[in-house]
């Protein structure tokens, strides 16, 4: 049994974590928590960490004792500098709370890159966790903002991602709100949809890692995949229709429609892992092997795990990328925004200075 730690940071991270906790109740609906226990496919410990107590209160399926309020009343207001200081001030509390949950084989950190709390805590946590749990891979699930959310969020995302990469986690998996906007018309249901999707895929992965599989993939494979390319990747997913072949299911999981971040896997993929679940009758191992061999030519090393499970074939793909043009665009936009902001600030400053210059030599007369 794998011991897995999932940390949800900031509002976004908290919510995705809550979605995972909800998924762990199975198909019980809203009242499941009153009559059943969460069933994670492994030994999963979750902690929702936030500076905003209201965000923690908004959670539904996460135990109260798994919600950690880092005292800085109502969030840090997207201020990463402040966020970092709050983290340093409360490091002991956070780490001891994590420590209480024992040892871990794998750690996920879920956060948005754009906010204040989550985005500032994440890189620092990566550092702390790597120090404390030397053997556990640390994978960051990083949510990118809607591009129209404003320059501060863009800047934050840019610097956060850089800070995270600088701390060298095992890997970063991107979830792009902007790309996934297509899921729903309004923000609220888009969030829910994105959160659920992300949660489900993480659990799918965890289940596979913890199971006896027909074709084996494991934590070592995951590490290798995550180490590929620039250490940044994302996930894809496909659920096959009844009479499609396993091959089309596998290929489906590479399609842009199933990805959490816009990328051309065939072009940019460095390494991949495929996890295939379904009724045994669908699982033609020869066909699977053959398909994956073909894929490897374009995508690079592809690890696979096959899990016999009731239902139609479902395939989760997990990549690291060699290049990320979308990210470059994001950074360009961020830089643009920063520059624009600074110019504006300078302008306002000089305007105020010239206003003040009117009374430069004067004294008030009463």
């Amino acid at each position: 049994m794998l011991n897995i730690l999932v940390l949800g940071l900031g509002q976004c991270g908290n919510r995705i974590l809550d979605a995972m906790n909800r998924e762990a109740f199975g198909r019980g609906g809203a009242f499941a928590k009153y009559y059943t226990r969460q069933k994670f496919p492994a030994s999963v410990k979750t902690i929702a960490i936030n500076t905003a107590i209201n965000d923690l209160k908004g959670l539904v399926d996460t135990r109260a004792k798994d919600r950690l309020h880092v005292p800085h009343l109502h969030g840090v207001g997207a201020n990463r500098t402040l966020g970092k200081r709050v983290f340093e001030d409360n490091k002991e509390i956070i780490m001891s709370e994590i420590d209480k949950r024992g040892a871990f084989d794998l750690i996920f950190i879920i956060t948005s890159a754009a906010g204040g709390s989550g985005s500032s805590f994440a890189p620092l946590l990566v550092r702390e966790l790597k120090e404390t749990y030397t053997n556990a891979p640390v994978i960051c699930i990083t949510v990118l903002p809607f591009r129209e959310e404003g320059s501060i969020f863009l800047q934050n995302a840019a610097f956060c991602l850089k800070d995270i990469i600088d701390e060298k986690p095992t890997g970063v998996l991107l979830v792009d709100n902007q790309y996934l906007k297509k899921y729903a018309g309004d923000i609220k249901s888009a969030y829910d949809k994105i959160n659920n999707t992300t949660a489900r895929r993480l659990l799918f992965l965890i289940e596979a890692l913890n199971s006896e599989m027909l074709m084996v993939t494991d934590l070592g494979d995951l590490k290798t995949v995550m180490n590929g390319g620039i250490g940044i990747g994302t996930m894809g997913f496909y659920e096959a229709s009844k009479d499609s072949t396993i091959k089309s299911a596998i290929l489906g999981s590479f399609k842009p429609s199933g990805l959490l971040f816009p990328t051309n896997v065939y072009k940019e993929g460095a390494r991949a892992m495929l996890i295939i679940k379904g009724d045994k009758k669908y699982l033609n191992l020869d066909l699977i092997t053959k398909t994956i061999e073909e894929l490897s030519v374009e995508v690079g090393q592809v690890f696979k795990g096959v899990l016999v499970q009731r239902g139609r074939p479902r395939v989760l793909s997990l990549f690291t990328l060699n290049s990320v043009p979308e990210l470059e665009k994001l950074y360009a936009a961020a830089a643009e925004a920063i520059r624009f902001e600074r110019d504006r600030q300078d302008q306002s400053k000089s305007q105020l200075d010239s206003a003040f210059s009117h009374i430069e030599d004067l004294e008030p007369i009463y």
Partner: protein, 387 residues
């Protein structure tokens, strides 16, 4: 010391002064008879003149008292049997005069004074030597005791008093009677009774076996008598009530009681029961047995249910406690019997046993437990997930 002696002397003197008038209070008495319109002079000072003698409303004498220094004096009418009449002369001598007897032409007086009395002068009226004498009898009757049992004897006392001034003769007693009682020593003729004399007659009254018990009235005693001059008269006593009581038989009589009665208890609980046996009779009861009858469903838990007492004295009680337990629901009866000589008395203790509180709500409790557990569980879960 000196003061003490002085005090003693003073006290002694005071005591002597108290005693002196008593020793000096010698009373001189003299009897005088004065004829109508005659008078006497006492100690050369007081004149007593008999003005008239009357006989309506009892015998009376009209008297005029006067003296040398009180020539007007006072006129008084004296009656036989009245208290004395006082007169004080002008020189300060006091006499007390009572009318002793009166005749048609004169009267006899008793005169008292603190001084020795002398008749110093007598002026005769016409005094009739023969007085008119009238006897007057009264009779009272007492019965002692005035309540008695059949077969007993009571004492009846008759007191006959002659309050007249003549001897009563030919006295016949007609004593009242209560049916079936017997007089022993009750005279029917009584000896003559002189004026002022009192005769006492006692006799026994035996209460015969057939007398009806209850309050019986004994009719008045009637006296018929004559004066010496042959005038007859009669008087009677009050009637008396004699209570006749049934003969008391000495027998023990036991009662038995159970405390508390009419109790509502819970099955399986202790039911304490105090049994009291009292001898309300007037004789000691020997060998008293108590028998208890417990119906099915009730059992003895503690104490001795059927004790035996060697004896119970009159007005004494024996009390003992037992503890019962009702195993079955419903009405239960406990019968306790006390037996002595050939007699017995029974007391009954009824109580109702109800299902134990727990048993009554058993179904509900059983039903409530899972609901409660679920509720607790829900609350616990809710709290686990509320922050």
């Amino acid at each position: 010391m000196n003061g003490c002696r002085v005090l003693m002397v003073v006290v002694a003197a005071a005591l002597l002064m108290l005693l002196f008038p008593m020793t000096a209070a010698g009373v001189e008495t003299t009897n005088v008879t004065i004829g109508a319109n005659g008078y006497i002079v006492l100690n050369n000072d007081i004149y007593i003149e008999l003005l008239d003698v009357g006989s309506d409303m009892g015998w009376s004498a009209q008297v005029h008292f006067y003296s040398y220094q009180d020539s007007v004096g006072t006129k008084k009418t004296l009656y036989i049997g009245d208290i004395s009449t006082s007169y004080t002369s002008g020189s300060g001598m006091t006499i007390d005069v009572t009318l002793d007897s009166a005749f048609s032409n004169g009267a006899a007086f008793v005169i008292e004074s603190s001084k020795k009395l002398y008749v110093t002068e007598r002026h005769a009226g016409k005094v009739e030597t023969e007085a008119v004498t009238v006897p007057k009898l009264t009779i009272t009757r007492t019965i002692d005791p005035n309540s008695a049992e059949i077969g007993q004897t009571v004492k009846v006392t008759l007191t006959i008093k002659n309050t007249g001034n003549g001897t009563a003769t030919d006295i016949m007693l007609d004593e009242g009677t209560i049916a079936k009682t017997y007089k022993d020593g009750c005279p029917s003729e009584i000896d003559d009774i002189a004026a002022g004399a009192t005769e006492r007659i006692e006799y026994d009254l035996k209460i015969g076996d057939e007398v009806q018990p209850g309050m019986r009235e004994m009719p008045a005693s009637v006296l018929n008598y004559e004066s010496e001059s042959g005038v007859s008269d009669s008087t009677q006593s009050q009637s008396n009530i004699l209570e006749i009581i049934l003969e008391t038989v000495l027998l023990p009589e036991l009662t038995i009681s159970i405390d508390p009665i009419n109790y509502v208890v819970t099955c399986g609980d202790d039911v304490p029961m105090v049994i009291t046996i009292t001898n309300v009779g007037n004789a000691t009861s020997e060998k008293v047995y108590v028998k208890g009858d417990l119906h099915p469903g009730v059992r003895l838990k503690g104490g001795e249910l059927e004790p035996v007492y060697e004896s119970i004295k009159p007005d004494k009680s024996e009390e003992y406690e037992v503890t019962l337990v009702a195993d079955e629901e419903g009405e239960h009866v406990v019968e306790m019997k006390v037996m002595w000589a050939d007699e017995e008395e029974t007391a009954v203790f009824e109580f109702r046993a109800e299902k134990s509180g727990l048993e009554k709500y058993y179904v509900y409790i059983i039903a409530a437990i899972p609901i409660l557990l679920i509720l607790l569980w829900l609350i616990k879960r809710r709290r686990e997930y509320s922050y």
